[in-house]
Symmetry: C2
Subunit: 360 residues, 2 copies
């Protein structure tokens, strides 16, 4: 059990007027207990209370949790796990609910009147997870250093005729050679006009002369994630228009990174990048938030968006990833991860962002 982290969550819950919570996000359970399993359609939950010891509820088919948790309640497929969970709850107090708790579990708890009301409370856990400690920051740096190295490998794979999917599927092997365990998300490899779709899935598209190339990739290393995007020109100098789009995105990326410091709001960071893109006339083609927090998961709550008015705090890690997507024509995105520090910020990725022509 990670007692200090659990204490922080209970304190956060107290600030929300809650004395008990049911956590079910498997990654949050790992963060709080050290125990990890993915439950698929079965139930896994951690009950936290200011009046009782943390209790883990796990199907007997899951790996044994007792090395991590003192109080484990197991059940079989033929049991009703919500009956067991309800048994330990304070029925006269409201329950904080994990935002991921599925209706299949929440509605039976409501029907049993297992608590006096149900209230979203993931913020209590997410807030603790978003401020990384020194050890976590070292792991974040190591994952991003591996990603910088892997970007060099990706560039080396490019040649006319290679397909997006070939490169995307080879990446996990390179990550393993570099000491990481896996991709942190399905790699995005996009050629030609495909980068115009920000979430393009790698397919059989072949690299041709004078293509744009976009890599949005990340590894999982010692349970922590990296995530970086670079866009390249292949086989010849870009047109003036392509150069203008690229440089606009690069300036947006660098300007946003430059203002990150404790107390600046997420919205201010987003708008710094967004205004640069809007002023260049491409505002409607920057269709997503500027970034997302990251850690044990590639996307963690608390996005870098124009509507998120909270200030950033030291120890937070998030992405800065402006993009311009011109449908059917081209797309450019440039993404780094950074750590907020007391004195500003530390950009974890060092792979160059200057406009680069490859294979010419």
């Amino acid at each position: 059990m990670e007692d200090a982290r659990i204490a922080r969550v209970l304190e956060n819950l107290d600030g929300m007027g809650l004395g008990q919570m049911l956590v079910c996000d498997p990654t949050s359970i790992r963060y709080l207990t050290g125990y990890y399993t993915f439950p698929y359609e079965r139930f896994l939950g951690l009950y936290l209370s200011r009046n009782a010891e943390p209790t883990l509820f796990a199907n007997v088919l899951f790996p044994d949790a007792t090395p991590c948790c003192d109080h484990v309640v197991t059940f079989a497929d033929t049991d009703d796990p919500m009956r067991l969970v309800a048994d330990v709850m304070d029925h006269d107090a409201p329950l904080g609910v994990d935002k991921d708790l599925a209706a299949r579990w929440l509605l039976p708890l409501r029907d049993m009147q297992a608590a006096k009301g149900f209230q979203l409370a993931s913020k209590a856990v997410d807030d603790a997870r978003s401020i990384k400690d020194a050890h976590e920051l070292d792991l974040m740096r190591a994952a991003s250093a591996t990603n910088d190295e892997a970007m060099g490998w990706l560039v080396d794979q490019l040649h006319v005729g290679v397909t997006e999917i070939e490169i995307a599927e080879g990446l996990v092997g390179e990550y393993r050679r570099l000491g990481a365990q896996d991709n942190s998300f399905t790699p995005i490899v996009s050629f030609g006009a495909n980068p115009a779709d920000p979430h393009h899935e790698p397919d059989g598209t072949k690299l041709r002369e004078r293509d744009l190339v976009l890599f949005d990739v990340g590894c999982l290393r010692d349970s922590y994630c990296s995530d970086m995007t670079r866009t390249f020109f292949w086989g010849g100098e870009p047109s003036d228009h392509e150069r203008e789009v690229y440089e606009c995105v690069r300036r947006a990326n660098e300007a946003a990174e430059a203002i990150v410091s404790p107390g600046v709001t997420f919205a201010e960071i987003d708008l710094t990048a967004r205004h640069i893109i809007e002023d260049a006339g491409y505002g409607e083609y920057f269709t997503h938030r500027l970034g997302h927090q990251i850690g044990l998961q590639d996307h963690e709550p608390g996005d870098v968006s124009s509507t998120h008015d909270e200030p950033v705090r030291a120890g937070m890690c998030f992405s800065i990833e402006p993009g311009i997507y011109l449908p059917g024509e081209m797309g450019v995105r440039i993404e780094d991860l950074l750590i907020v520090r007391e004195d500003g910020c530390e950009v974890m990725n060092s792979y160059p962002k200057d406009l680069t022509v490859l294979g010419a």
Copy 2:
């Protein structure tokens, strides 16, 4: 849109006293509309009503749904999708809720009083999905035929010193060579005593002389899943004890398959296998349900367990997978997929189940 399937779901809802439902399982949405995307933390939902056209709610970042759906409401990351969903609902009628709807969406709908009560209603969709039509059954057969072929490839990979993970990671390439698209779940490859953990994750364990070998694998072919388990003896004849365990599991598998016919209950099928294992003295080592339904997903609702008293119906597909797991010592599981037919059942897997010694 799959109008006939939607009509079946609305009819099922009617039988539950419901006139509207919010479906959010991406696979169910594919089944009902032909549109598929995985939304991660963003919202994707299909609103069904007996009084209104089906309406899909999708983030603008998702692939365009208009080729599949006439009524699509899109929203950006900065919008509140639940406000948009609530706008189309009948606030004076109860809402059927997908069992997978996360608390982050359900609790705001409740707070907005978007409907007059919320009730689990996935059974209306799951019931439609569980009865496969002729085209779906052909796709199920094709996926299992590919899996039979792949089992031969797996056996060919065995040699002393090969690791579980090497074989597990190579399997997807073989599936693609055979015309499938992907694994339908993370392959289980277990050597030695590892099969004693029914959900063992393949690792660096090397094959040694006189090991047990268990393969539990499946492919995704044209959106439908296969799933089969075979257990082999490597490098020498099994002991009498090993042979007894193997034959007990094989008899349990075959006896359960032999009684499947419309009208027999899932519980009767489970108990047929379970009693054989109990009578041999291994009851406590058969720790899971006998099987699960399968189709667009590897695990679909309606399990083959001792507490599921509903009768099976023609067109259903499910697994029969008894196992005996002796901790630290050995494990055997034998699994086939079958289709319930009007006149009995059709076992889709034809890979032999006779006790087989390899590499000797």
